[in-house]
């Protein structure tokens, strides 16, 4: 009986020891920052170099079903400027008037949620973008799409930068999301730290997309 007790205690101690030396994971907020990109791999390399002009709405759309947190307008304007600058750095030209149809449109969407399954049905909210319909004479019958349905599991804050181009063929007119850059992280900290973290993730999105070139 004594021996059994001894064995039990020894096993328990060993268990505790193993548990206590289990390896660590992330330990600061920035350790959770992730830059994610995806693009339409069916497009030829020449597609990207054929693009010249882009347009961008002057606001970030916030999508949130549970959180009321939104960064201030300063965050929006800083990030919008930064993103347009990044596209111009590649060699694209931003067009701001509606006289020219741009080759692509850049949209910025901030999704704030703990858990959120999302597919691109949210483009039903297109009306949110001011002046949207003037690009490509958008008439409401065009629907943006990815090649396949898309389901994200986002948590906390994700700033999604999408590149959309019109696709016209015999039987379809649609807007295609050809590139997405996502700055994903935990929405805590001061606004200035949030701005710099978002910027460095966007920077990384461009860095890991070498096909975005002129």
């Amino acid at each position: 009986m004594k021996r059994l007790l001894f064995y039990s205690l020894a096993s328990l101690l060993m268990g505790l020891c193993i548990y206590s030396c289990y390896p660590d994971g992330p330990d600061s907020t920035t350790d959770y920052d992730v830059a994610i990109t995806t693009y339409d791999r069916s497009l030829p390399d020449t597609f990207w170099t054929s693009l010249n002009t882009f347009a961008m709405p002057d606001s970030i759309v916030y999508v949130s079903s549970s959180s009321s947190y939104t960064p201030s307008a300063v965050y929006d304007s800083t990030i919008l400027l930064y993103v347009s600058q990044k596209f111009e750095d590649v060699g694209f030209y931003q067009v701001s008037d509606n006289l020219v149809n741009p080759d692509f449109v850049v949209t910025l969407t901030m999704n704030i949620d703990t858990y959120y399954n999302w597919n691109y049905d949210w483009y039903d909210y297109w009306g949110w973008y001011p002046g949207w319909s003037s690009w490509w004479n958008f008439n409401g019958s065009w629907t943006p799409y990815w090649n396949s349905g898309i389901v994200y599991a986002y948590r906390n804050g994700s700033l999604i930068v999408d590149m959309l181009t019109p696709v016209t063929s015999a039987d379809t007119t649609a807007l295609s999301v050809v590139w997405s850059g996502i700055a994903d992280g935990v929405l805590v900290g001061s606004e200035s730290s949030l701005v710099s973290r978002t910027e460095s993730m966007i920077e990384q999105c461009f860095e890991q997309s070498p096909y975005l070139t002129k």
Partner: protein, 205 residues
């Protein structure tokens, strides 16, 4: 099932008169092959509990259960992933952490060079069984994880030195192999493992 239980009970009662050993070992592992490609660092987090029943003066049969953890902080790292729900390929850059957890459950046979009572006791053995292995990659708040049961084989050699009637110090080395699973998402298990532990003896001379 009843037959197996009966057989085991029969074996136990038959061999109860023989010597038994229970051991606890600390384990360190060096990964090879595709395991090494995933986590190149050795594991210093491992342990097992083993039981041996002598059925002969030189031969024991028994079993063991263990736990080994491999871990590597990849730092800022870029890798492609698929997300469930669509066919797109996503490039993720962020702080990446990789883990392998494995729980081997093995049946063991050992040949002991000398009879009980020797000052030191070299042995050679073979374990056959299964191991549950989980590969887990963490990036930010995303986790990619796959786990499967693998068929496992481990030959071993070692030596134990009785300190007194009850306790012996054990040191051994084993090569551990397990088959690939999940179409290679769990690659073949390949490690060289060092065992340092204590054996509790129940020897009736």
């Amino acid at each position: 099932m009843k037959k197996i239980i009966f057989l085991l009970a029969f074996m136990l009662t038959t061999f109860m008169g023989q010597a038994q050993m229970i051991g606890i070992n600390y384990q360190m592992s060096i990964p090879f092959g595709k395991m090494h490609d995933y986590i190149s660092k050795g594991s210093f987090r491992g342990a097992n509990v083993e039981y041996h029943q002598f059925i002969d003066k030189h031969i024991s049969v028994g079993g063991s259960i263990g736990w080994n953890v491999f871990y590597k902080d990849m730092g800022r790292y870029t890798e492609n992933f698929g997300l469930s729900g669509n066919d797109n390929i996503y490039t993720f850059t962020g702080k990446q952490y990789r883990y392998i957890n494995t729980v081997p459950i093995m049946l063991n046979g050992r040949y002991h060079l000398y009879e009980n009572g020797a000052k030191y006791q070299p042995y050679a053995g073979l374990s056959v069984g299964t191991r549950w292995t989980e590969y887990e990659t963490e990036i930010g708040q995303y986790t990619a994880s796959t786990s499967r049961w693998q068929f496992a084989v481990s030959p071993e050699i070692g030596i134990y030195v009785p300190i007194n009637q009850i306790i012996a110090a054990n040191i051994g080395i084993s090569y551990n192999f397990a088959t690939r699973a999940a179409n290679g998402r769990i690659p073949a298990y390949n490690t060289l493992m060092f065992n340092i532990g204590v054996l509790f003896l129940n020897v009736q001379n």
